[in-house]
């Protein structure tokens, strides 16, 4: 059932596979490829020439593309980026779990589960309404300021909590869309065999639902990766904070470019992976398996 993982679509010769991204689909034959290469070179050369010859270019180059500043700030900024990655990985695991719990709570039918549904709905409504920065400020500055015995004051801890609370609301909605996309006849079949509500959810509905929502989930995580930069406000020396420090030390904006590059390098593989998953699902749907 699982096809081989394509190598990223570098060499493109067989258009019939339908496995590549559409952007790289230039058509069949050497001639088409040659035309694509020539036209790309001309097009991007023209744009490059216009930019390089524009009046502000030398100042931009000095301010953003300083090779010395780049080399000097790279190690420190890259190691600060490790903080973002740790933050992202820890929050992601917590979000996947909390989001699932909330989605299941929201999907339980019947009068008995009304309070759980209410709680889950209120949670989602609240945390989708609040600006992320606000939640990060309230938790990261507000709660340590209470000086309650035993409550952590580590900003990293509160950064993880804030991101988890915010993103779980979104992820719960993604899960719920998946749960609702599973035809009720599946639950009926499970219940008719004597499985309980929760067993039917756990063994029949959720495995199918989660599989369907992996691409949108990963999209949310691309958002999460970027929002880890908000945590710099709390004084955690993450990548953006580190870049800011370097920027004010050198009066040069190249450190921001380093930061941008790091986020791009992290996000692009993820985005391509999502594309590949979507394409795979479409292929499976076309084959006719449900």
């Amino acid at each position: 059932m699982t096809g081989p993982i394509p190598g990223g679509g570098g060499t493109i010769l067989t258009p019939s596979s339908g496995r590549r991204s559409r952007i790289l689909d230039v058509g069949e034959g050497r001639r088409a490829i040659a035309i694509a290469i020539v036209s790309s070179v001309l097009f991007f050369s023209a744009i490059g020439l216009v930019i390089v010859n524009s009046p502000g270019w030398p100042r931009f180059q000095a301010s953003f593309l300083d090779a010395e500043v780049f080399a000097a700030s790279w190690p420190r900024i890259a190691s600060a980026f490790w903080v973002n990655i740790r933050l992202f990985l820890i929050a992601e695991v917590l979000i996947l779990a909390l989001g699932l719990v909330i989605a299941v709570m929201r999907s339980l039918p019947g009068p008995v589960f009304f309070p759980l549904r209410l709680l889950a709905t209120a949670y989602v409504d609240l945390f989708r309404a609040l600006p992320g920065v606000l939640v990060i400020f309230m938790l990261g500055f507000g709660i340590p300021a209470l000086r309650i015995e035993g409550v952590p004051i580590d900003p990293f801890f509160w950064a993880v909590v804030a991101l988890t609370l915010i993103y779980s609301a979104y992820v719960a909605e993604v899960y719920r869309a998946g749960i609702e996309s599973i035809h009720p006849s599946q639950a009926a079949a499970a219940r008719s065999l004597g499985l309980s509500q929760l067993q039917s959810m756990r063994h029949v509905v959720l495995p199918q639902a989660v599989r369907r929502v992996v691409p949108p989930l990963l999209n949310d995580f691309i958002g999460l990766q970027k929002d880890t930069a908000l945590v710099g406000f709390l004084g955690v020396v993450e990548v953006l904070k580190a870049a800011q420090i370097r920027q004010s030390a050198t009066f040069n904006f190249t450190p921001y470019l380093v930061t941008a590059l790091l986020f791009v390098l992290l996000t692009i593989p993820m985005a391509r992976f999502v594309d590949w998953l979507v394409a795979r699902d479409q292929r499976r749907a076309a084959v006719g398996g449900r």
Partner: protein
Amino acid sequence: MTTLGTEALRIDGLHKSFDRLEVLRGIDLVLSEHEVVCLIGASGSGKSTLLRCINLLEPIDAGRIVVEGADITARGVDVDRIRRRIGIVFQAFNLFPHMTVLGNVTLAPRKVLGRSPADAEREAMALLERFGLAEKAHDHPDRLSGGQQQRVAIVRALAMQPDLLLLDEVTSALDPELIAEVLSVIRELARGGMTMLIATHEMGFARDIANRVCFLDAGRILEEGPPSQIFSAPREERTRQFLQRVIEAGRL
């Protein structure tokens, strides 16, 4: 029919509405153990709804359903416990697409009856063997033909060793050439003494297999009797019209 043994299912005055639409308007029906009863009637006459009510997949508005002496529609009954004893097979198979055939068949015995995986698999394989599906055990449902999928659905219901099996137009979604294999499975179950309530459009099959045929019309059992009487000498005009249409459609 009294010779057939003890009462397996009794339905008294069953009513069921969906919003304003009254689908079942007072159904009374008794099934004895080892009896096979076929429900016939036009689409929308309430056959499927009746079966879904018996399996408690639909709440009922009025009346009573008694399975082997126990009122299953009483307040506070454990519906999961009741459903273990009543198997149902659906028109659209409703197999679990993310599991293999073996996974489909062993899920409920493992999770509901608490069988060990090894025991559940052994029992499932024996059933699959019996219905000619052993070599499909490790395939996913989308690799099977419609007929095979429906046979798996029957096996999945049988794995719970139900006292009563409900079949809801189980051949209606199948290509004509695949119907026979499913019907022969049901015939074998009937020979083995399984108590069955079967909603069907296959009149020839109903005539062969049923101890009794019930004609449903607009939410009521208008006429019931042995197949020989219903199919050759129906008393009610509506039954006669329905069978006439079926004959014209070449289904009898």
